[in-house]
């Protein structure tokens, strides 16, 4: 018993001496601490964003409670704030954006992964990335002076002619409005969705493609059966992520949506989004209640995008090995 005890003491003491020799490298500990602190601070920063928004919105939260979300009247002069029109404009323009962007970006991703390899693919891939690099405000000025007039003259009359019996395509045509905002949003989220879709497609094993081709499938049948079918979850995640981008996009939307806080059935009518209201009214928000209302809009937007992105992250991570960007 005593012998084993001395052994069991001696061995750890040897180890201890070794590890204490390593511990003498104080700089090593300091360095690992040095890179750990910024990480923790980032987590705190995220919490601080939520906390500051919540604290600065407390007045409207207390004052209006849940009716802030259901009220349809946004009137800073009367001190009455109902965010429903802004929520409506945000949701409708984002849905228009995602329904235009979804098929296009899947097409782009298929083109880049399955159709064009080599030089052409690299060039197109670069151009799609440039689509994402154009600043939001530049899409805004282009939207005001190029896209909106074109939609007003050509597209909106055509859609009205074809589907005019529906209330969604009603006159008058201003050009600017939810539809124009949706088109701009589609342009801006195509690169996001396409790049995630590309990553999701890239995870499909090569053997699965070759198996389909070996069975005599045409290339399209191969894409449908072995690529698209296997990527359903990842594509759903890409769409949700694109939706999250669209909901929070500010400048381009603020410039082309027409900024009118009304709920209207026609997608051609001017509207406003949560972020465009914040961008437009912060300068006039002289009184505390108005500012609190704007901050509460921001708080809602923060939580909605947070939840949406957490869901998207789950979808994409379960179907691609890499972390998404």
């Amino acid at each position: 018993m005593g012998q084993t005890e001395t052994v069991s003491i001696r061995v750890p003491s040897k180890l201890k001496r070794k590890s204490s020799a390593r511990d003498r490298h104080g700089p090593d500990r300091f360095f690992s601490w040095l890179v750990w602190v910024p990480g923790v601070m980032l987590v705190l920063l995220l919490l601080a964003i939520a906390a500051f928004l919540f604290w600065n919105a407390r007045e409207t939260i207390q004052h209006f409670g849940f009716s802030f979300l259901t009220g349809t009247d946004w009137d800073p002069v009367q001190q009455n704030f109902g965010a429903l029109p802004a929520v409506f404009g945000t949701v409708v323009s984002s849905l228009i954006g995602i329904s235009i962007a979804a098929p296009l970006s899947i097409g782009v991703a298929l083109f880049l992964t399955e159709v064009a390899s080599g030089r052409l693919g690299r060039i197109v891939g670069f151009l799609v990335e440039m689509l994402a690099a154009v600043p939001s405000v530049v899409y805004g000025i282009w939207g005001i002076f190029v896209l909106a007039p074109w939609l007003r003259e050509k597209i909106q009359p055509a859609l009205h002619g074809a589907f005019g019996f529906l209330p969604f395509f009603a006159k008058p045509f201003y050009g600017v409005g939810m539809f124009c905002a949706g088109v701009v949003l589609a342009i801006m989220i195509i690169p996001t969705i396409a790049s995630i879709a590309r990553e999701v497609f890239a995870v499909v094993p090569r053997g699965q493609r070759e198996a389909a081709l070996a069975l005599g499938a045409t290339k399209w049948e191969m894409m449908r059966l072995s690529v698209l079918k296997a990527s359903k979850g990842g594509l759903a995640g890409a769409m949700i992520l694109g939706l999250g981008r669209a909901l929070g996009e500010t400048m381009a939307v603020a410039m082309v949506i027409g900024n009118r806080l009304e709920i209207s059935a026609s997608i051609f009518s001017p509207s406003a989004t949560m972020s465009s209201v914040i961008a437009n009214e912060y300068a006039e928000a002289a009184d505390r209640l108005h500012m609190a209302a704007l901050v509460e809009l921001g708080l809602i937007l923060f939580f909605v995008t947070f939840v949406i992105n957490a869901i998207a992250r789950f979808f994409v991570m379960s179907s691609s090995k890499r972390r998404w960007s």
Binding site: W36, V43, F111, V128
Partner: protein, 301 residues
């Protein structure tokens, strides 16, 4: 009831005809799918060409010496320019980099070299979530956290907003780049008796420096075009800025202000500024990517 040879041949021919017809149809569907994919790709790129065309056509006439040297003037007065906005954007981006670079790279090092277990998972999740926070929310946060207490729009607060927006991009790309460095290189360094921090800084980080510089440049190009977070932090200024504690003008905010104004002359200047901004962003992207592709292959930022 044995099938005669001619019977069998007839059946065979019918089957072959059926297969050939079906194959024809499948080939047509295949062609249509290719066509659809091509059209989708072209459609997605049309806006890029249209934006480029219009900023060149409408922006070039507004570019002159005054644009780069003058200050904004009231409508109708000559010599109006955006010198203060160009300098302002440079200052804001510099301030942002001072915050975003060290913070982002440190997180990248932490996640790549030390990041294991639950704590790293939470940090990684936060990086992802911060990158998805709309930029206007970051602006709103800085407004409530810095501008309101200081009772003053300031260049400093604008820089903080841009810095926060840079962190996730830089953290994530530096993590990915550091992870590309093979494990045996670290082990070689440790085997030589180098302390771990020296291995990380002088071998791993140094080896991926060109990639990290590229990522940094791309992040800078991205925040240089940000407008929303600057609206209520850096605000705008018609004159040269008066220290970092004062409002400062920036190119994107100036474009926004001019674009929504009713004056043609201001619209022209907004287009010119958009041209400058887009040329800067494209040139930086193209330059950084070509250098990067030559230095390290097989990764993307």
């Amino acid at each position: 009831m044995a099938m005669t040879a001619s019977d069998r041949a007839r059946k065979n021919r019918a089957l072959q005809k059926f297969i050939a017809k079906r194959y024809q149809r499948r080939k047509i569907v295949n062609g249509l799918a290719y066509l659809a994919i091509g059209i989708a790709t072209l459609t997605a790129l049309v806006p890029l060409f249209s934006v480029s065309e219009f900023i060149l056509r409408k922006g070039l006439p507004g570019l002159n010496w005054d644009f780069f040297t003058g200050l904004p003037q009231p409508v109708g007065e000559p010599g109006s320019g955006m010198a203060n906005s160009i300098v302002g954007t440079a200052i804001l981006v510099l301030l942002g980099s001072l915050i975003g670079l060290p913070w982002g790279i440190a997180i990248g090092i932490y996640l790549a070299e030390y990041g294991r277990g639950r704590a790293a998972g939470i940090v990684r999740f936060s990086v992802d979530m911060l990158s998805s926070v709309p930029s206007i929310i970051v602006g709103l946060f800085v407004y409530t956290a810095i501008v309101v207490p200081m009772k003053q729009f300031s260049a400093f607060s604008g820089g903080v907003a841009l810095g926060i927006l840079m962190i996730p991009t830089i953290a994530r790309s530096s993590e990915e780049l550091l992870k590309l460095v093979p494990q045996h290189i670290r082990e070689a360094g440790l085997a030589l008796g180098l302390p771990r921090w020296k291995v990380v800084l002088q071998i791993v980080l140094r080896g991926s420096m060109s990639g990290i510089i590229t990522a940094v440049i791309l992040a800078i190009a991205r925040v240089a075009g940000e407008t929303a977070p600057l609206l209520f932090t850096a605000f705008n200024n018609r004159f040269w800025h008066d220290g970092l504690g004062q409002p400062i003008s920036s190119l994107p905010v100036q474009i926004y202000t001019y674009a929504i104004s009713p004056y043609d002359e201001w619209h022209r200047q907004a287009w010119a500024a958009a041209l400058v901004l887009v040329v800067f962003v494209f040139a930086v992207n193209l330059g950084a990517r070509t250098i990067f592709r030559n230095k390290t292959k097989g990764s993307h930022v």
